[in-house]
Each structure stands twice: as structure tokens, then as C-alpha cells.
Symmetry: C2
């Protein structure tokens, strides 16, 4: 049976029926399986909001590149460890990215087995050759903070739940004299030879194991510590070592592979043997720490003092309900309810907590730091998330966002480069993607008055970041006003991104009265003009000599000077100066049909073939929603004489790109960025240019939303005459007063009140 | 010119002249070059007493085993990194063992060069192919805490000194536009592929570098952190990477090998470029930490706030003088003065400090711990040092010894095995050698009333240690009273060692009134009888079935059931029951000629060939002084009717085995054990069985010694009619009262007073 048949098509049951969200019962609308097929790269396992542990089944892991050493679509398949159409589960590991286009995690895989001990995972087509197991989706349940599956080959029921820093497993065994729990310390998502650099394991006593693992991957040097405890004493245990030790010395006197309480090496698997009665439950509490096994144990003891699996599950689900209830929506149908709350679920999966109960965490200098007065976070996929996710946090999670900003400021202090994060995870900068998009996150928070961090220090961190001359063409950019394409790839998209980021610095400086900084950066923000070729109406690679590159393809995404986007899409990337851009492109009359054609044109397959991280469904015409550079594009009509086309387009994108189905996401969810786009757009307003407090108004897809703000105010979004056909907005009022134009400010909204959209089936021209 | 010619033969200059030690000027009698040729395995570099940094030249390093994978005498050559007859210096590294038979250190090699940058060390026969340099002993000076050498190939004068945790380099350059300082992070003593597991380097600013290195060697997992600072800003810098990185990702956008402020990988070398004027000095302060680069930097700033090289040198030499002045001797000649104080110098080289200025250190669980109310120490070569070095500390360094015991107790708590150290270094148990000889160290301190640790907890740690059943035959030993030779190598020597260690537990228990423990362990201490074969008069391997092994060679040291000793020597190893042993061997009359023959027999070359860690000169007859198991043997005559033979033998051994020459040590100094034997023996009394407070009296070699005890008392050892010929003792008095028998108690001596030996050229029979 294909996963398509399993698509949650309960829409029909609820068609036409308005559903009101019930407080404390919103998790029912979250389906963690959405996005687990194809390119969504979400994981179905258990976690709490922003939890450090993501305990989820891995169905396979493959090398980061194909046999030819090149990236392919297939190579990206296992970013989240789980692909819905896979037939077997390898085990359950404790760390997962949500929706990324790359991976590095999958730490500490646990697999319960019965029968002959097997210490290799085996293969999906011959699961009996290893410890992995077949499973069936009919025996699988995924809820927020709860995952359950039957492991058919071992006749074991696996259940899992979590707290912030602890994964809790519950395995129901058959009667067996030969029951095992495998702890695979080699396992990793995107694994390859020599990725694991070091492993250390100690059997502290017959129920407590500690250790750590170091990897060299996307994060150049990453260490994760653990403490795990069994609900039942281990009868015996052992290890398998998959790389010869270079030196044994006097350790030779021991049989270190059996019942020897410590093991050290590059590639290890451990196993623990038990005898079980029929239906006997063996539980595991598995705590993580970025700092030490001592801290992991403290996390374990503090967060999970009991063995009450059900209570831990319920507590985590209550946390989810508390977060989800920050926006209580009425939607047109259950599918929209599922889309909305699953999107909200996705937005609250990360960044993840990266400090221990005692506040300690590892910094980029690999030293231990203490987060004073904030919780430290990691996994900042900023090229994605600066656009909509962090602005969303400024609306519904301002305190958490300020902690995230404090985490980024600490990162900057601890960085050898004194740069704010580009793409950071687990005390590492992996430099993924381009720009310095922590800057608009910081600027957006300053401009929106988010409390909890030092604005002037934050501005200085932005300025420093924007002046690290060896970073990705920045020296040339500062000197010439653009990055010469003959000197560096992605020269145009990076120039455009720098220009936008620079503008956000100017905005923050303006707010803080730093006119010198404002002047310098507002000037830099105009650099987009340097790569605009008026002759063809597109942004275009420019060479060192000042001329534009001759060979140039506006549809191709590779080698044309742009990252994850073609020139066609990226030419529209001037979010900080849309009017300037439209003027440059010939003004309203010329620009409108140009923009229209984006959505209506046919993108030949040859160009799609190289588009990264998205399925064919992630593209509408040549509009690529599955990658981020176009996320503001549908709102560009607001700056033209036809804003009703924004309303039409965004409702169309919501319908086409987000489905309450296993394969419902057309591209990587990208750490919640795609989902945050959904939520804002469904609510009817969108942070077009982070660093500005102005939202662009679109067309709400929900019937009503009550947003409970952290400042105690309530913002209600209400619609009149809402339906799937009435996608046009004829009027908007805020607290009864008509809103002029197509925008409304953040400060106005968070003062509380009622934003009413009057919907119509016809545009108001 | 061979090193033999360089032997310090200044004896003649001072012959017959009595020298009195001058307070504050004893370092003049220390020659750190003694033992640096052949098997002494001492290092000539700079360090302070018990210093964490041993900054010393490395003349080469070789794999831990020969090409055939087997240990050979040659393979052991570079334990201390320096061999006197080598023609070149590779550079100066910061950690060295003193006198061991194995190595694992040589961390962070610094080498200044001029001319073309070279990033490989090159070879000794072609030094111009690498960064190493030729040197001449005529341009070399080694003093306590000061080492100086001219690097001929680079025309650079290198000088070094230290504080406890900081190495201070001073390089005097010629005028050069092409001056470099290499930081070789791959370098290690006993290096081999994959020994270095990980390296992390950060250029914090143009004078400060931090980082760490992890190795997998004798210590299974060892991490050393550093912070280094230059006295002059670095002009430019770079790295060479000697192992391909498995994953580069977006780091590709940088030229990470030039002026990029961080580098991570398995095998790295870094270089720093300068321009220098003629005679310009570039200084380096290089701090170590077992915990973090933060701590290393704090150590650096606290211990070496200034750049005053001379002042740091003088301060360290004052520390040496303070320690050396604890025993002020008058010797018969300058050679004896040099022997005595160089021996004292060697005894105070280790164990070494292993906690930071803030008290933090890494424990065996690889977590960070804080040493409260003690300084943490590492490098416990206990099979060697329990015999004489720690008893020596109980006499002149009781507080430090109590800190060492607290360090061992912390080790026991942090150990996965809950065992006291066997051979531990840098937060690792390397399990080297046999027995559990931390136990007699603890017991000796309890019996001698050394203050500063909890006696009852310490006793419990000893009991726990003596019951780890999977440790080296201990299960069988406890069950059968001996280790069956068919089940485990070194069965006899280990049985004998356990029996002795058990006796020491009994002694401590007796002192603490724990009669149950006393009874249990005094019984176990008699287990030596189980491996004594009365039929042949030797200890002999016994099989599981209770019969002695048939094939058996009393002279061979390999595969006969003994470690680092043959059956002949090891059969005398019952220090806790010498009378019982003599009785078992047929009583006084039969035993005396037997013991005499040990010193007079000829050991055929075939047996010497396999004797470890010693030169031919380290053997007298079949008496092997270069290895430890016989260190008590010369004192065995005290338990016979001919104690004068002890006097004769020990004076002969002092003369034959210790010479004030570069090649003056006949075997490994073994972390000060050989030197401690020298000191006690030269003073005229010896801790025959640690765990007892009784010293056996021998024949002092000095003229007079004033021992300044920590309790404020003074113990004076004086001789009458002393000369090289008057080796026999006709009478001993303590505070004027004749000492009966051949022994005197520790408690008596530390009450202070005058121990007078009346010397004679003829034995008192």
C-alpha cells in the first residue's frame, strides 16, 4: 500500500463545518507524520516544544553524497531519519533536525530486539540480517510528544515520549530469555567513514550508563553527552568495536567486550541483555547534555524523577497545548485546522534548547559557558528562518525569541570570527547558505521592541558581522558594492542578501538613534542596484571589470550567480525597497505582467531537475515556494496597483503547497520557515521585510483567530463572509477603524484589538 | 665526539674534599642531563618541582613498536623525547614523563625557524629536509628550570623556563624577513597513525592562540588544552593539514589554510610568520590545562603576568632550591653531591600537578571536577613508586603525598571500576604493570600518620580495589590463593605482589582498629607460600590443578610467570615476611650463600637480551637494579646473621648504578623510583616494606645530612669515620642512644634528632 492511499483525507467529513479550537485539545489537529514523505524532511517522533531531545524512528541513513561524490536528490532523502514509504525501522535516535536539507544528527540509536543478538543494522531489503525490524503504518501512532510502533520482527511494542532534555522509551516485550537493547553509538544520519571521531561509554551500575560521542560532520566538531537509565537491571552487557584500536597496551589483560564497565573507541555499539516475561515493559530514560555526563545525569534526575511514562507523555502534550493555544483558530474545515496546527507544531520544533538544567552549555570555543538569565538555543537555520519564523516568534514567542537572540549574541562573542551565526548547530558554525541573516533577526526584534537583550551591544554585533572581510566576498562587496562573479559563486544572490541585511542594520540603527550607522548601511543597502541589468530587466552576474557576464540563463539555478533559486525568482529579491525595484523594472505597468508570468509560465523539466530540496509540486509556474527566496514574492502585488492579486495568490499557494497529508509539504519545511509562512499568511498578514515593523496584508484563510499575546493583550483576526472562494478582501478594519493601504504595524497589533477582514469572491480593484 | 667523552668527570677536581650544601644554591649540583643517554629516559628540559609543564627538547620520536609490531629496546628509546647522542632537535614540547619505560606525551611542539617555511620535521640524517635543526652540546645548558641551546640550522638561540602550568620560551633570532614559529600539533612521543584523534585551534587575536588536542594512546582518551601568547604580534599565519577532512561543506568558501582564525582536524601543524631584527627576542608563554582553553588562559595570566623571562627562571630555580634544601647534605665529593641532588631533582619531577589555578581537573569519567582542599596530581607509576618514592615523600613531602593520595582516592571514586590507580596519567588508567600498588602507598601513609585524608574512606578504597574480581586474575587469586599460570601470564609475580599489597591493607586496618579487615588480609598476605616450590627453592608457576608448571627457567624473564624480572630475583619478593621467606628457603645458613650468589653469578647474555628497560650496567651478577622487583633485596641481609653484607652491597650498588654522567643511570629512572632508592640508601635507611613504619638501616654514603621535616623538626644523619672504603657500620646511635638491631621507626625519626653511624672499613660480624 502506497503512502498516498494513507493521506489524511478526512476533509470531507468536516466539509462546510466551522470548527472552533478547544483550549487544551489542539494537539488533536497536529499530525507529526505530515511532511514525512518525500521532501518535507519532518520527523514523526516525540518531542516537546523547542525540546533538546527529538526521539524519533530512523528508517535509514545514507551517505551525504552519492557514489560519484556528488549531491543528488536521493542523497538528501534521510535528513530527518524517517521516510514514510520505507519498510523497516533501524531504531530510535534522540536528535533530529526538522525540515532541513542536510543532516548531522541521529545521536544514540536505541533498538530493542529479541532472539539472536545482532550488532549490525542489516539492510531494508533483508532486515533479518540485522537488528532492524519491519513495521506497518497500521501499527503506528504519531502525536505531539508521543510515538508508538510495533516492531514486527521482534514482536516488541515501542513507545516513546520526552521532556525537554530526556527521551523516555517504553518497550513491551514478549516472553524471552534472549531480549536485548542495542545502543548504537555509531549510528548517525548522514553517516560516513570517520564521521564519528570518538566515543566513550561507562557502565556506572546495572541500571545507569553514561558516555559521549564526538562527530566531525556538518558541525566540524560536535560532542553530545548522555546518561541513560533502565527501569530494570541489566543482566549482562557487551560491546562491538568496528574499528581496530591503534593501541591496546595493558587493556589486553581484560576481555573488554563483555561485562567490562568502560569502552572507548571510534566506532562502538553496546548491547544490554535481559530476560523478559510476556508483556513486560522495559523503560529507558535517556538524557542529553552539550556539556558533560554529569549534567546529563542531572538533567535526567531533575526532569524525569519518576518512571511514569503516561504522566511524562501527558505533561509534554500539555506543554504543546499551551503553546498551540497561543493562537486559537476557527477554520473552514478540519484539513485547514490540521494544516494550521501542524504548521504551528513545526514552528515550535526549533531552534532547540541547548543548555542544561544548570544553565551550562558548550560554546563555539568548545568551552563551557553558563547562560545567565536566558535559555540557550541552537540550530539556527537563518537563511531560512529570518524571513518569517523569527518574525512569527516576535508575535507569539517574544521572550523565547529574545533568548534566541541572546544565544546568537553569545555565539558571536564566542566565535573566532566574531560573527553572528550563519547556520549554527551544537556549538558550531557550519556556514551553510549565504548572507548574514542573523542581522535581520536582531534588527527585527529591536525595531519591534522585543525586550530582554542589550540593543546597543546587539547592534555592534551586527556591524561587526557585516565587516568580516574574509567572509564570502564581503571584502569585494564593501569595496565595489557587489561581488564580482569571476571571483565567487552565487555572486548575485549574495550581493542581494547582503544589501537586504544591511538595510535591516540601518533600520535598527535608526531606532537607536545611531545616525552614522544608519547612513553607512542605508547606503550599502542600495547595492542591489549594482547587480541589476536594466537592459534585460533581471539581476545579473557582474564581473570584476564592471561588465555583466555574457553567458547567462535566467531559469537555471546552477552556476548563474544565485543560490537555491534562478535569476528570474531572485531578481525580485529586494524586500527592503520593493518600490525602487519596481521602478527599476519599468514601473507598475511593465512589472505587473512580468510578475503575473512568474506564476503562469511553464518551467521546463530540465530546470526543475536541478532545483534543490523541493518536489515538482513545490513549484507553481516558475514560482518556487519550496525554496525560500520567493517567500515574499506573492506580497509584491501589494506594492503595485493590483494588491488583490496578492490575496488571490497567497490563498492559492496555501492550498497548493500545504496539504494535510503525509506528503503534504512540497519542499523542506526548513526548521519551520515554510510553516511560519503558512501561519502568517493564513492569518492575513505577513512580515514582508524583517527589520520593519510593517506587515503586508494578504487574505486570511482562517475564519477567526484569537492570538494571546505575551503582553497580556489579545489580538483577534476575524473574517466576514469567509469561504474558499471568497479570497478577496474588500475592506479591513482594526478596532472598527478602516485600515488604509495594504499594511499594518506590529506595534498597533500587539496593543490588542480586532482585525476584521471583509471577504469577497471578487477583487476590489 | 661520543657522549661518553662528555661524561661529567669532575670528580677528580673535588676528590677528598668535603662539600657542604649551601642553602639556596643546591641547584648547582643538579645536572638534568644525567640519565639522558641510553636507558635513563630522563629529559633535560625546564620544569619546576612537580610542574604540570615539562618543556624540553625532543630529538626524535618513533613508533611504539618496531616494524615487526614487537617491542624492542630501540622502540623504547624516546620515552623522554631526548637522547643525548642524537644530532638534531625537532623542537620543544611541553609534556614529558621522567624515566618511564613507555611514553604518551610530547604535546604541542614549538620550533622556531628561519628561511623557507617547512612544515615537516625532516629526518635526523637530513635535517635540511624539515624544520628540525642540528645542535651541539657545546651550545647547550641544562639547569633546573632552564634549558638553552643554539639551533644551528636556523641561527636561533632557544631558551626555556617554566612555572607550574606555563612553559616560557625565548628565541633570539637573526635578522630575517622569513622568521617562523611552528606549532606542531601532530607531534607526539610514541606517535603513530591515528594516535591523534582530534585537534582544535583558534587564533583569538594576533598574539593569542588557544586549542586542544586529543590522543588515543597509552591513555585511551586524553585531552590537553592550551593557551599560548606571543610577545610580538603575528604577521600572518597558516596551517597544514595531514589528513583529508571527511567533510568540508560550506567551509569550502574560505581559504582555511591561510589567516583563517580556526582550524579543526585530526592532524594539524600551524605556523606563525614574523619579521625579525638581528638579536630580536620573540617570547612565548604556553599554558596547559586538563580542562579547557579558558582555564589554560587563566593559568597563563595568573602564573605569568609578565614577560620577564629571567625573573620567571629565577623564581622557578628558587622553588627548586627550597625543595632541595629539605635535605642539606655534606658528601665525600662533588660527584656524590651531584648524584644526591640530581636524584632529589628526579624524585621531585613527579607525580605532576593536574589541576588548574581554579582547582578544576578532568576526572576518569572525563567530567570536570574540582579539587577542594588539595592539589590534584597525575602520572602515578605505582608499580615503581610505591616502593621508595612515596615513602620518601612521607619523609620530606608529607603534605604533597597526602594530596597525591587524595588524588588517587578521587581517581578511585571516578573510576568505572572503583579501583585505585594502577598506572594512571591524564585522567586515564592505562593498567600498566601489575598489582594494586596504590594500596601500599595509602597504607604506608596511614601507618606513618600522614595527615590530610580520611583514613577510613581510604581503607575502604583499598579493600574495594583488592576485590575487583575481573582485574588480572584477582578472582582466582581470591578463590584459590594464587593465580593459575595456565590462565594468565605473570601469574607468580602478580600473586606475590597481591600478597604484599594485601599485607599493607592488613597493616592499615590494624592501625585503624579494623580487626575484621586485618584478619582477612593478613590471611591473603600469606598467599606467597602458594607459589613457592620448596623442592627447588624458588617461586614457581602453579597450574589450575594445583601442580607446579614443569617447564620452567629461573633466569629467563619471559613467559615464566614473572613481569620485569626472572624467577631468581622475584623469588625474593616477600618484603612483608622476609623471615618467613628465609625459613621457607631453608633458613639462614642455606639462604645466605643463595643470596650471595645473586650478586656474584654471571647472567648469560641470552637472558639479558630480554631484560627490559635497562642496560647491561644495570645488572650486577643476576641482581637487576635497573628494574624494581629487587630494590629491597640488598636489605635482605639485615634479616640474616650477616647484616654487614647489606652495608657492603648497598654502597657497591650506589657506586655502580648511579654516576654523575650523562649515561649515569643503568636503567629507567621510573618516575623517580630509582632516584628515591639512591637517596634513602645514601642516607643510611630504607623503607623495606611500605605499610610498615620501620626503616631498615644500611650504610650511609653521605658524610652528613640535615633533613628539615615539615613538622618543624630536624633529623640529622651524621657519620663518623666516613669514606668510600669505610662502608661498614659498627654502631648506630639515635640521640646518643645505641640503636638495637638493624631497624628504626619512622615515628622516632620524625620526632627529630641525630642519627649517627659509626663507619668502619671492616664488618662488625
Amino acid at each position: 500500500m502506497s503512502y498516498k492511499a494513507l493521506t489524511l483525507s478526512i476533509t470531507s467529513l468536516f466539509a462546510g463545518c466551522l470548527l472552533q479550537a478547544q483550549n487544551n485539545n489542539l494537539t488533536q489537529y497536529v499530525n507529526p507524520l505530515i511532511g514525512t514523505a518525500k521532501m518535507g524532511h519532518t520527523y514523526p517522533g516525540a518531542t516537546v516544544p523547542f525540546g533538546a531531545v527529538q526521539l524519533s524512528p530512523d528508517t535509514d541513513t545514507i551517505p551525504y553524497a552519492g557514489p560519484d561524490g556528488k549531491y543528488t536528490g536521493t542523497a538528501y532523502r534521510y535528513c530527518a531519519g524517517y521516510q514514510y514509504d520505507d519498510p523497516t525501522i533501524v531504531g530510535f535516535s534522540h536528535t533530529h533536525f526538522s525540515g532541513t536539507g542536510h543532516s548531522d544528527l541521529g545521536d544514540f540509536l536505541i533498538m530493542p530486539t529479541t532472539g539472536q543478538l545482532q550488532l549490525n543494522p542489516g539492510t531494508a531489503d533483508k532486515p533479518e540480517t540485522g537488528y532492524r525490524s519491519r513495521f506497518s503504518h497500521s501499527n503506528e501512532i504519531a502525536e505531539p510528544n508521543y510515538y508508538k510502533v510495533k516492531l514486527d520482527d521482534h514482536n516488541i511494542l515501542a513507545e516513546m515520549t520526552t521532556t525537554t532534555r530526556v527521551g523516555v522509551h517504553q518497550y513491551t516485550f514478549p516472553k524471552s530469555d534472549d531480549a536485548h537493547i542495542i545502543l548504537d553509538l555509531m549510528h548517525g544520519i548522514y553517516n560516513y567513514d570517520d564521521k564519528n571521531t570518538w566515543t566513550f561509554v561507562r557502565i556506572e551500575n546495572d541500571t545507569l550508563i553514561t558516555g559521549y560521542k564526538q562527530t566531525h560532520g556538518w558541525a566540524k566538531t560536535r560532542t553530545v553527552y548522555f546518561a541513560m537509565t533502565f527501569s530494570k537491571p541489566v543482566q549482562s552487557y557487551g560491546y562491538a568495536q568496528f574499528k581496530k584500536q591503534v593501541y591496546q597496551g595493558f587493556w589486553r589483560r581484560f576481555n573488554v567486550t563483555r561485562n567490562f564497565p568502560e569502552m572507548i573507541g571510534q566506532n562502538l555499539r553496546a548491547y544490554f541483555n535481559f530476560k523478559t516475561e510476556q508483556d513486560e515493559k522495559i523503560k529507558i530514560k535517556f538524557a542529553l547534555s552539550p556539556v558533560s555526563t554529569t549534567n546529563a545525569l542531572e538533567n535526567l534526575r531533575t526532569e524525569t524523577p519518576s518512571w511514569d511514562f503516561a504522566a511524562i507523555k501527558v505533561k509534554g502534550q500539555q506543554q504543546w497545548n499551551q503553546e498551540l493555544n497561543k493562537i486559537q483558530v476557527e477554520a473552514l474545515n478540519k484539513e485547514d485546522m490540521t494544516n494550521f496546527y501542524t504548521a504551528m507544531y513545526h514552528t515550535f520544533l526549533g531552534p532547540t534548547v541547548y543548555s542544561d538544567m544548570n544553565g551550562q552549555y558548550k560554546g563555539l570555543d568548545q568551552n563551557i559557558h553558563t547562560a545567565n538569565n536566558f535559555t540557550n538555543y541552537t540550530t539556527f537555520s537563518l537563511w531560512d528562518t529570518y524571513r518569517t519564523l523569527h518574525p512569527f516568534f516576535n508575535l507569539v514567542q517574544p521572550q523565547r525569541n529574545s533568548h534566541m537572540i541572546q544565544s546568537m549574541l553569545a555565539h558571536q562573542q564566542q566565535s573566532a570570527h566574531k560573527m553572528l551565526p550563519v547556520w549554527s548547530h551544537y556549538a558550531n558554525e557550519n556556514w551553510c547558505m549565504s548572507g548574514y541573516h542573523a542581522v535581520p533577526v536582531v534588527a527585527d526584534a529591536i525595531v519591534k521592541g522585543i525586550k530582554g537583550f542589550d540593543y546597543n551591544k546587539a547592534l555592534e554585533a551586527c556591524i561587526t558581522t557585516a565587516n568580516v572581510k574574509y567572509y564570502d566576498g564581503l571584502d569585494d562587496y564593501i569595496r565595489l558594492g557587489y561581488i564580482p562573479d569571476d571571483k565567487r559563486g552565487n555572486s548575485v544572490s549574495t550581493t542581494l542578501e547582503y544589501a537586504f541585511d544591511d538595510w535591516s542594520i540601518a533600520m535598527a540603527a535608526k531606532k537607536l538613534g545611531r545616525n552614522d550607522v544608519y547612513e553607512a548601511f542605508i547606503k550599502r543597502s542600495q547595492n542591489w542596484k549594482n547587480v541589476y541589468d536594466a537592459a534585460i530587466g533581471y539581476m545579473r552576474p557582474k564581473l570584476s571589470n564592471g561588465s555583466f557576464k555574457k553567458e547567462f540563463d535566467i531559469l537555471s539555478t546552477h552556476g548563474q550567480g544565485f543560490i537555491e533559486g534562478n535569476a528570474w525568482n531572485f531578481s525580485l529579491f529586494v524586500p527592503h525597497d520593493p518600490k525602487g525595484m519596481i521602478d527599476a523594472m519599468g514601473g507598475d505597468k511593465k512589472f505587473l505582467p512580468h510578475l503575473d508570468s512568474l506564476f503562469s509560465m511553464h518551467l521546463p523539466d530540465e530546470f526543475f531537475a536541478h532545483t534543490e530540496d523541493i518536489t515538482r509540486e513545490g513549484i507553481i509556474g516558475n514560482y518556487v515556494h519550496g525554496n525560500e527566496p520567493s517567500h515574499h514574492v506573492a506580497y509584491l502585488y501589494n506594492f503595485t496597483s493590483q494588491p488583490w492579486k496578492t490575496q488571490e495568490r497567497v490563498r492559492m499557494i496555501l492550498k497548493k503547497q500545504y496539504k494535510a497529508a503525509i506528503d503534504g509539504l512540497g519542499g523542506n519545511d526548513d526548521c519551520g520557515q515554510m510553516s511560519a509562512w503558512y501561519i502568517f499568511t493564513a492569518l492575513g498578514f505577513y512580515p514582508f521585510a524583517p527589520g520593519s515593523e510593517t506587515y503586508q496584508l494578504g487574505s486570511p484563510a482562517i475564519k477567526k483567530a484569537v492570538i494571546h499575546l505575551e503582553n497580556g493583550n489579545t489580538l483577534t483576526v476575524d473574517t466576514r463572509n469567509q469561504s474558499d472562494k471568497n479570497v478577496y478582501v474588500s475592506k479591513v478594519t482594526f478596532n472598527g477603524i478602516p485600515v488604509k493601504g495594504t499594511a499594518i504595524d506590529h506595534s498597533k497589533l500587539i496593543a490588542g484589538g480586532e482585525l476584521v477582514f471583509y471577504m469577497s469572491s471578487k477583487p476590489t480593484k
